[in-house]
Amino acid sequence: MYNLRLSPEQLEIRDTVREFVTREVKPVLLKADRLDVADRRLPMHLLEEASRLGLRTLALSEDNGGIGADALTSCIVAEELAAGDADIAAVLTETSRLAHLIFDRALPQAERDRLLPKFLADDGAHLAFADREADTDTRLGVNYHRPDVTAPSLAATAVQAGNGDWVITATKTGVANAPVARAFAVTVKIAGRAGEGVLLVAADAPGVIVAPHAKAWPHGTSGDVTFADCRVPAGNLLADGSAALLRDAGGHGVPLAQAINLGIGRAAYEAAIGYAKLRVQGGRPIAEHQAIGTKLANIAIKLEVARATIWQAAWACDHPEAYADRSLTDLPLQTIAQVFTREAMLEAAKDAAEVFGAMGVMRDMPMQKYVHDARVCLHGSDSNRDARLRIAEALLGYRRPALAAAAE
C-alpha cells in the first residue's frame, strides 16, 4: 500500500535533525562571513557533530553499527540538513550512501571486519567514490536513442602482484568528498577480466594524492585523485557489479541529491515567509499583499509537488515489489524528480529572493546563496537536457547496451 504516513522513528529523526540544524548549523552558517558563495569553507566541527548524531552512518545497517535508515528516511534527513547548509548535506549523504553500499553490500566479510571499526570510530571519516575520468562526461546528447559506440572505457587499471595485492594506476577527477575522505572506492579495469572492478583504497595508502578543488561548482567538497602504483590487499576488491551499484545510474536510485535541492528551496521559502510577515510596505506586512502572497503560494506549491515526487521515488527504492505488481510506473522516478525539482527550486529561490528586494542580492545575506545553490543543482553533473533524453528513452522502451559491452 502506498503510504506516506511517516513512522514514529522517521518523525523523531526528522525532528532531531531539524533541531540540530536550527541550534547548531544555522547560527554558524547564516553569519555574513559564511554566506559568500565564492569563499565556502567546510565546517568540519559541524560534520563531526552530525556524525555523533549518526548522520554520517545513517544508511549503514544497524548490524554494521549504523542507523539503518531506509531511502525515504535518508531523503527526509537530506532535506533537513540542506535546509541548513547544502555543503554539509552533500558530504554527509555521500558518506552515508557509500557506507551502506560498501559495508553492507559490496565488501567481503573479512575486510569489513577489518576496516569497519576504524570507520565507525572516527567522526571525521568520510568516504568517496573515485570513478569519473577526464573527457568521460555523459554523451547522451549525441547518442540519444543510439548505442554509444565511441564510449571510452576506463583508463584506470589494476593488476595483481605476485602476493595477490592489487596495484592501481588511476587518475580520477571531480571526486566528491575527496578532500575529507579516509577511503576511496576506485573503479578500474582489471587486466584479463570483463567489465569494471571496484577497489577500496585507504586515503593514506602510499601513492594516493588528493588535489582539492579550490572553487568547485558542486556542493560539498571535491578534488582530483591520483593513484600512482598504489597497492591494496587482495580482499579490497568489492563484489562483482559494484561499479553499477555505486554509480546509481538508471534513474531508479535514492533521490538524495533531489532532497538536498528541495532543502535549499525550503530554506529560501522559510526566509521569505519570515521576512514577508515582518516587512511592512504599503501599510501592512508585505505577505498580506496579493502580489507577495501569490509568490509565496507558488513557492509552497513547488516545494510540495517536488517533495511528493521525491518521496515517491524514495518509497519506490524501499518497495521494489511495487514495480513488480504494477503499483508504480516503470519509469525512472528519480530522474523525473530530478528534472522537476531542479527547475522548480531555482524558480522558488528566485521568487523568494525577490521578496527581499535589494537584500536578495547581497553577499552577506542568505538569499543570494540559496539562488546560487539552486543553480548549482540545476546545472549539476548530469544536465536536465540529458535527463529528459533518458526519460524519453525509457518512455520508448529503448534499452541502452551496457557501456562495458560496447567498449569490449
Partner: protein
C-alpha cells in the same frame, strides 16, 4: 516605418562597440572576481570612457555634452553592456541624472553643476531615494498609509536646509560627486506632496557614505549607504519647488509618460546587451565544443535553446528601439515600463539558457556564464518585481 540608423547613431554604436571590445571586456571578469565590494571599481575605465563621451552622452550640446537622442543612448548602453553590464550602468547612471539636471534644474543650477560635471572625467552622479524602511513605498505610495515612504528629514534654517536620516542601496554613492536627494519637507503630507529634491555635493558638511554593499551581481557598479547628520544644504540647491512633486529623470516639463522615462529604457537596453553577449557566446560554444566527437550544435535541444535565446533577444531589441524612438518622438505611452518588465524575464531566461547550453565542465562553471546569470538577477528587484509591474499597469489604466 524605417528601422535604419542615422550615420551619427551608427557612429556612436561603433565607437561603443570598439571601446567595449578593446577596453571593457578584457577587464570585466577580473573586476567581477574581486571579493571586496569597494575594490571592484576602476577609475581608469571611467576616465577612458569619459574621454570618448560615454559619461556625458545625454548632456545637451549647449552645456558641452553630446546631446544624443534616446535611440543613440539605447544603442550605446546595449553595446557597453555586451562587454560588462555593470560598467555600462556606471556610465548610463550619469545620463539618467544629467537628464534630470537638464529638465528639472534652474539655469543657475545647470551652470553651477553641469559645467563641472562635463569638465571632470571622474565626476559621477547619483540619486538617493531608498531608505531602510522605504523601498516599494517610494515607488508605489499606498493611498491608505500617507505617512509611509522615505523618512529623511529636511528642515529649513535660515538660507539652509538641515538634512537628517539615511539612504540605502544608492547607486554610485561611494564614487559620486553630486547627488539628488529626496527628503521629506512636510512630514504630515503624503510622499508626493511632502517631498523636496535637493542637490547635495559629496563634500557637504554632515554628509558621509557608510557601508558599500557587496552584491552578487553587477559587482563593478558601486552601491552604498548615505548618512546625513545635520547635513547643511543651501536653499539654492532645492530642485524645483519645495514640496514639489517628485520629479523623474528625463521627465520634467516635457514628460511624455508620467514616469521615469530614461530609467526604464536604461534597464531594458542594458539587458539587451547581456542577451547579445549570451547569444554570441552560446553560438560560439555550441559550434566549437564537441561532445562524443560531435559539435554540441548538432544536438536538437541545443539548437532549440539557441533559437529561444535569439528569439527573445531580437524581440527585446525591437521593443527597446521602439521605446527609444517613441521617446525621441515624444510619443506618450507606457511602453518603456513594459519593456523594462519584459527585459527582466528575457535577460533571466536567456542567461539561464546559456548556462544550460554550457553545462558544468568537470567541477566548475564557466565564470562568464555565472557572471551573466548573477548580473541578470539584479533585474528582479529593479525592473521586474511586482511593484514595478503593477506601477505600469496603473499607468496603463
Amino acid at each position: 516605418m524605417d528601422f535604419a540608423l542615422s550615420n551619427e547613431q551608427r557612429d556612436w554604436q561603433m565607437t561603443a562597440r570598439k571601446f567595449a571590445d578593446e577596453e571593457i571586456r578584457p577587464i570585466s571578469l577580473a573586476r567581477d572576481a574581486i571579493p571586496t565590494a569597494r575594490e571592484t571599481f576602476d577609475w581608469e575605465i571611467v576616465k577612458k570612457g569619459s574621454k570618448l563621451g560615454f559619461r556625458t552622452l545625454a548632456v545637451p550640446k549647449e552645456y558641452g555634452g553630446h546631446g544624443t537622442d534616446f535611440v543613440t543612448q539605447a544603442l550605446v548602453m546595449a553595446e557597453l553592456a555586451r562587454a560588462d553590464s555593470a560598467m555600462s550602468k556606471t556610465f548610463s547612471q550619469n545620463w539618467k541624472w544629467s537628464h534630470l539636471i537638464s529638465h528639472a534644474c534652474s539655469d543657475e543650477q545647470k551652470a553651477r553643476f553641469l559645467k563641472p560635471f562635463v569638465a571632470d572625467d571622474t565626476f559621477l552622479l547619483g540619486k538617493g531615494i531608498s531608505e531602510p524602511g522605504a523601498g516599494s513605498d517610494n515607488r508605489l505610495p499606498p493611498e491608505d498609509d500617507p505617512k509611509s515612504g522615505l523618512k529623511l528629514r529636511a528642515e529649513r534654517k535660515g538660507d539652509d536646509w538641515i538634512l537628517n536620516g539615511e539612504k540605502c542601496f544608492i547607486a554610485n554613492a561611494p564614487v559620486g560627486k553630486l547627488f539628488f536627494i529626496d527628503a521629506r519637507t512636510d512630514p504630515s503630507a503624503p510622499l508626493r506632496q511632502g517631498t523636496t529634491m535637493f542637490l547635495v555635493p559629496r563634500d557637504t558638511p554632515g554628509f558621509r557614505i557608510g557601508k558599500v554593499f557587496n552584491k552578487s551581481g553587477w559587482r563593478f557598479y558601486q552601491n552604498g549607504e548615505m548618512i546625513f547628520e545635520n547635513a547643511r544644504v543651501p536653499q539654492a540647491n532645492v530642485v524645483g519647488q519645495v514640496n514639489g512633486a517628485v520629479r523623474k529623470a528625463g521627465g520634467g516639463g516635457e514628460d511624455t509618460t508620467g514616469g521615469d522615462i530614461f530609467g526604464d529604457l536604461e534597464l531594458c537596453a542594458n539587458a539587451l546587451g547581456i542577451c547579445d553577449d549570451a547569444c554570441q557566446v552560446a553560438m560560439r560554444h555550441a559550434r566549437t565544443v564537441k561532445q562524443g566527437g560531435r559539435y554540441l550544435f548538432e544536438q536538437q535541444i541545443v539548437q532549440l535553446h539557441i533559437n529561444k535565446m535569439y528569439m527573445l533577444t531580437e524581440a527585446l531589441r525591437s521593443f527597446v528601439l521602439r521605446v527609444a524612438w517613441e521617446h525621441d518622438k515624444k510619443i506618450r505611452s507606457c511602453n518603456a515600463g513594459l519593456a523594462m518588465n519584459f527585459s527582466t524575464d528575457v535577460v533571466q531566461q536567456v542567461t539561464e539558457l546559456y548556462m544550460d547550453v554550457r553545462g558544468v565542465e568537470g567541477c566548475s562553471m564557466d565564470h562568464h556564464a555565472d557572471k551573466l546569470a548573477r548580473d541578470a538577477i539584479i533585474w528582479s528587484h529593479l525592473a521586474g518585481d511586482s511593484v514595478q509591474r503593477m506601477k505600469v499597469a496603473r499607468r496603463l489604466s
